[in-house]
C-alpha cells in the first residue's frame, strides 16, 4: 500500500518521543476551539474552587507544612479518594469517553527524578505557596506579580529540557 508523505510521518514519528505526562489519548480529531472550549470550562470551575477553598493561599501552604491546619490535607485526601473511586469505576465498568473511545491509563515507571525533582518542587512549593495550577489562579485573583513566578517556572522547565540528559534518572 502506498502511503502519502503525511501518512508516513504520522505512522513513523511517535507523537511523543520522550514520555509526555498528562497525555491526550483521544483518537478522534479535535478542532482548535470547538473541542477545547470544554476544557476551558472545566478549568474555570477548577479555578473557582481553588480560590473559594483558599487552596491558592500562600498562608494555607505554610499552615500545611507547619502541621497547624488540617485543611490542605483534607482537600488533597478527599481529592485522591474521589479520584481513586472514579478510576476504579471507569475500569470496572469499562466506561467509554464521550467519543466512544476506551479510556486509556498509563503506568508510570520509577526514576530518580521522582525523588530529586520531587524534593526540588517541594522546596519551591513552600517558598511560592503554589503548585503550577494555583500559579494561574493566583494571577487571576489579582496577584499579577505571580506572573514573574510563572515565567521563572517556565524557564525552569526549559532548563530541565536542556540539561535532561546529564541528570540522573
Amino acid at each position: 500500500m502506498q502511503q502519502t508523505k503525511e501518512e508516513f510521518v504520522e505512522v513513523m514519528a511517535p507523537e511523543h518521543p520522550i514520555e509526555c505526562e498528562a497525555a491526550n489519548d483521544q483518537i478522534a480529531g479535535e478542532s482548535l476551539i470547538g473541542s477545547n472550549i470544554k476544557y476551558i470550562l472545566v478549568g474555570i470551575l477548577f479555578g473557582v474552587v481553588f480560590v473559594k477553598a483558599e487552596i491558592i493561599s500562600w498562608y494555607r501552604i505554610q499552615e500545611m507544612f507547619r502541621l497547624h491546619s488540617f485543611h490542605m490535607y483534607g482537600v488533597i485526601g478527599t481529592a485522591v479518594a474521589v479520584g481513586m473511586i472514579s478510576v476504579f469505576l471507569i475500569k470496572r465498568f469499562q466506561l467509554k469517553t464521550m467519543q466512544g473511545e476506551k479510556v486509556i491509563f498509563h503506568d508510570k515507571d520509577f526514576h530518580w527524578g521522582n525523588v530529586i525533582g520531587g524534593l526540588m518542587f517541594g522546596l519551591g512549593w513552600a517558598i511560592t505557596g503554589s503548585c503550577p495550577g494555583p500559579l494561574f489562579a493566583q494571577i487571576g485573583s489579582g496577584f499579577l506579580v505571580v506572573s514573574i513566578t510563572l515565567l521563572s517556572a517556565i524557564a525552569g522547565t526549559w532548563v530541565y529540557g536542556l540539561v535532561r540528559d546529564k541528570l540522573p534518572h
Binding site: E21, A22, N24, G47, I56, M72, C131, P132, G161
Partner: protein
C-alpha cells in the same frame, strides 16, 4: 445558597470537586489530569530551541493550555464575583511563627507585603518569585508531574512512583519551611 457561595468552601467540597476533575477529563476526551505539563507545552510551542525534550506534537496537547487558561479565568471570576466576605482565618500558631520571621499576616490570600511588584528586584523578590518559580518548574518536570499529575492522577491510578514523588514533594516542603526558610528570610 448565596451565603454558601460567598463563604470559604470547606475542604471536603473542594476535595470532591478536584477529585472529580480526574474522571471528567478522562470521559470528556481521554485527557489525563496534570497541570505542570502546560509549562512544557509553552516551552515546546514558544522556544523549542531544537531541544529533543521539546520536539513533540504540542498542538495535540493544546487542551492543557485551554485548561490552565480556564484556571486563570476562574481565579478572576471567583475574586470578582464570589469573593469571601470575611477576611481569611489563619491558624494562630502559623501567624506567630510567621511574625517571628517578620512576615505580617494580612488575612488576604497572599501576604501583600511580599507579593507586590516593588519587591521584584529585591532580595525577597529573587527568592519568592525567581528562585521559587524556577524550583517549581524544574522540579515538577524532573519529577514527571506535580500535585495534580502525581498526587491526584497518579495516586488515583495506584501508581507507586507517584506515591514516592508525592512523599518527596512533602519532604521538600517540610525541609524548606522548617530548616531553610527561617535561615533564608533572616538574611
Amino acid at each position: 445558597m448565596l451565603e454558601f457561595i460567598s463563604q470559604p468552601w470547606p475542604w471536603y467540597v473542594a476535595g470532591a470537586f478536584i477529585g472529580l476533575t480526574v474522571p471528567t477529563l478522562l470521559l470528556l476526551g481521554n485527557k489525563h489530569f496534570g497541570i505542570s505539563s502546560s509549562l512544557r507545552h509553552i516551552c515546546a510551542a514558544c522556544f523549542p530551541a531544537n531541544i529533543p525534550f521539546f520536539k513533540y506534537n504540542w498542538k495535540k496537547e493544546l487542551w492543557n493550555l485551554f485548561f490552565v487558561a480556564g484556571i486563570l479565568i476562574g481565579g478572576v471570576v471567583a475574586t470578582k464575583f464570589l469573593n469571601n466576605s470575611e477576611p481569611m482565618l489563619i491558624s494562630e500558631k502559623t501567624v506567630s511563627d510567621l511574625l517571628a520571621l517578620n512576615i505580617v499576616v494580612d488575612h488576604n490570600l497572599m501576604p501583600s507585603s511580599i507579593f507586590n511588584f516593588e519587591n521584584v528586584f529585591s532580595k525577597q523578590g529573587l527568592l519568592f518569585f525567581v528562585v521559587g518559580g524556577f524550583l517549581v518548574g524544574f522540579g515538577t518536570r524532573y519529577a514527571g508531574g506535580c500535585t495534580s499529575g502525581h498526587a491526584i492522577m497518579g495516586l488515583s491510578n495506584l501508581q507507586w512512583p507517584s506515591l514516592i514523588a508525592t512523599i518527596s514533594f512533602m519532604a521538600g516542603g517540610f525541609m524548606m519551611v522548617h530548616f531553610i526558610f527561617p535561615w533564608l528570610v533572616k538574611r
